[in-house]
């Protein structure tokens, strides 16, 4: 396949970016999207030009590092698939593909397609855990937990923290990310003691980090490579309201 790529280039956080056009000839349909970019980059490097910077690491859809908009969609057109697992057989010979960084106020661009997503760590920092220091645990089977609760907790816990939900949201909200953690821990007995404190602290932090508010577009769920259910947001709202009412 022969493709044309329009890629966002930006040399640093405070420089102005622009689209550059590149030819990508001889692309194999079995390549992953990132392998296609690797080939483009090696050609640029041989010619003495700076390669396109992009975050990536595990290349098996679990680390959450890869983060780009492909034709306006976070992680591209395949459902429930990260960029690294998107394969070129999804595209057609002669296609023009537009590639940009995740766009959100809370995710400043560092270079080309790389953005700073550390705001997500800071949301976890204020309450996305169970406070149990090493050595404090009772026997793992001391407390039976219904399989259905664990299965639903796992559905939410699968979040890879990639930020696609934020990039997809017209408001730039991190609601699905936050709700996934609130739901994961809120469904388990271990998460109960801190349930109210957690949801309030995490939502406050989200607001502080320049993420937008949630107005239920649902774009986040559509873009999520792990298909985190939208119902997690309902749970978050429920917990948040309950915690706020209880507090007042």
């Amino acid at each position: 396949m022969n493709l044309t790529l329009k890629i966002w280039r930006q040399s640093g956080p405070s420089s102005t970016g622009r689209f550059e056009t590149y030819d990508a000839p001889g692309v194999s349909p079995d390549m992953s999207f990132l392998e296609m970019l690797d080939v483009v980059n090696e050609r640029l490097e041989r010619g003495g030009q700076a390669p396109i910077a992009f975050d990536h690491d595990c290349r098996e859809g679990i680390c959450g590092a890869c983060s780009m908009m492909i034709n306006g969609i976070p992680h591209g057109p395949a459902r429930a698939t990260t960029t690294c697992q998107l394969h070129m057989r999804r595209f057609r010979d002669g296609d023009t593909i537009t590639i940009e960084p995740f766009r959100a106020r809370a995710f400043p661009v560092l270079r080309d397609l790389i953005v700073d997503r550390s705001a997500l760590d800071r949301i976890i920092e204020v309450g996305g855990y169970v406070s149990v220091a090493t050595g404090n645990a009772p026997d793992a089977n001391a407390m039976p937990i219904p399989k259905t609760s664990v299965d639903r907790a796992m559905d939410a816990a699968q979040c890879i923290g990639c930020g696609a939900c934020v990039a997809a949201c017209p408001n730039g909200s991190a609601m699905l990310f936050t709700a996934a953690k609130v739901t994961h821990l809120g469904l388990l007995p271990q998460g109960q003691p801190e349930r109210s404190r957690r949801v309030v602290a995490m939502v406050d932090r989200m607001d502080l980090e320049a993420f937008g508010g949630c107005t239920n577009f649902g774009e986040c769920h559509e873009a999520c490579p792990k298909e985190i259910p939208l119902s997690t947001i309902a749970r978050l709202n429920h917990d948040f309201l309950k915690a706020s009412v209880l507090a007042s």
Binding site: E35, D38, R59, L110, Q190
Partner: protein
Amino acid sequence: MKLDARIPAGPLEKKWDLHRFEMKLVNPANKRKHTVIVVGSGLAGASAAASLGELGYRVRCFCFQDSPRRAHSIAAQGGINAAKNYQNDGDSVDRLFYDTIKGGDFRAREANVYRLAQVSVNIIDQCVAQGVPFAREYGGLLSNRSFGGAQVSRTFYARGQTGQQLLLGAYQALERQVAAGTVAMFPRTEMLDLVVVDGQARGIITRDLVSGKVETQLADAVVLATGGYGNVFYLSTNAKGCNVTATFRAWKRGAAFGNPCYTQIHPTCIPVSGDYQSKLTLMSESLRNDGRVWVPKASRDSRAPGEIPESERDYYLERKYPSFGNLSPRDIASRAAKEVCDEGRGVGETGLGVYLDFADAIRRLGEATIRERYGNLFEMYERITGENPYRVPMRIFPAAHYTMGGLWVDYNLMSTIPGLFVLGEANFSDHGANRLGASALMQGLADGYFIIPYTLGDYLATSRPAPVDPAHAEVRATEDAVRQRVTRLLGGDGKRTVDDFHRALGKIMWEHCGMERNADGLRRALREIPALRQEFTSDVRVVGTGEELNQSLEKAGRVADFLEFAELMCRDALHREESCGGHFRVEHQTPDGEAQRDDERFAYVAAWEYAGEGREPVLHKEKLVFENVHLATRSYK
């Protein structure tokens, strides 16, 4: 250099308890006066940083990823072992200990492995308390499955994402300490050298991967939890960023490197599809609980798998190893796959693949059950290959996966440099010559949650490190050396890319130091690697500067270290004239093609000491003493 493993006296099952009592403690009020550097934020690093922070130490934790949650432990799929015996199927600490020693082909230290088995049960308790959503039965109790090399069900799992869930547990504990102010986290920061002052590890030199700034970080002790070096093969199941730099640089500063030739080739990975391939994707070993491995009986049989009748299929693992069958350990299953492919019976376009077939399991259990157990793995397979494994058998082939070798450590997980501790895959300690499935997660968390918090305290209490002057000549010299290395990598106007060299190195290593090794091949590799390194120096092209986010420069530094380190691996493989676990020397095999150990000559840990530029490294031997297990021929037949 003198190797002292510091194995405590007393009976095996009492050693750790006695040692914990004998170790010195740091008073709670004094802990906050000690700064500890932790490099790496995977299972070992994150659990260590969090636990040390909880105790009150001032921890500074570094990772090259943009968030500690992305360390490569996240990609571990299948599970974590623990001797809970919840299934009442005969498991015990002793059995997990024995399975691990035997699985490692009797090349690991008894005392370390026994302690690992002991604390395995605490790990599961800790993780459940953190909210790790392990799979459960309808009664609400924890579920288990089996992994290779064991005849009991002792593996705990969270769908096919066990590593992810365990790492998120440790990451969340880490973030809690960041909020508490005990841990300072430095993401997108890479360690490029170790600072040794007066013979003690006192800090690291880092490069900020966004600004390019090179800085010195000083501390009272340094903990390396930087993972393995599987990417020396270029194609591996490791993440693209995994590298040997931290441990290799520590080696050059005086830390002995243990058994560098022990590498694990995982039998179930998706086969290579083309030259552009950038990594290999693992399919969890847990699939072998229900999948059956086979190839056609006839060579070059090009029929579709469905058209090959039962009588013309060779379920070779079940045939050769009837008692373990498809759950034979990784080294054995990998070599068996290579053997059938060498016979021309491999499947797929390249002939480098075998079938992993779920048709029987689907008939027996129904598609819904299989989907529940492995759904996400099946989806991943289909995304990558475009084939539906519910309909056609998966095609799999071995790939480099894990490195049992690593920096040599004593019982306290301290290297030969006082004050330098090494955890997880980065050390050599627990898996001998072959690691069993679901034991890497166990070891990483054992080291981080339950061992380093004790042994590090003992070191600080007994050695009482004095403050280091940042202007100390050793500190300045180390920082200058890093700056010079960075400058040397830049500025060339060569023609070849860094990846080009990395692929060339990977090819040499896979060919001569991979699944099978022999003296001629290893000698050839030892000639080819220095030549390639020479070309790298003169012909590599690294675009850009050091004062910016420069991914080519990051890669160049890592590949430059791999180009030196590869030689150490080959040297170790050449000297070990026996076969054991993942180290298979063609010259040393039994008549039926199994690994032939030579306990008389090689029942030791090979610990290599750096002897200076252009000098051959010096071999030191730690004799392995087996007081509790009988050295047997490892058989899974």
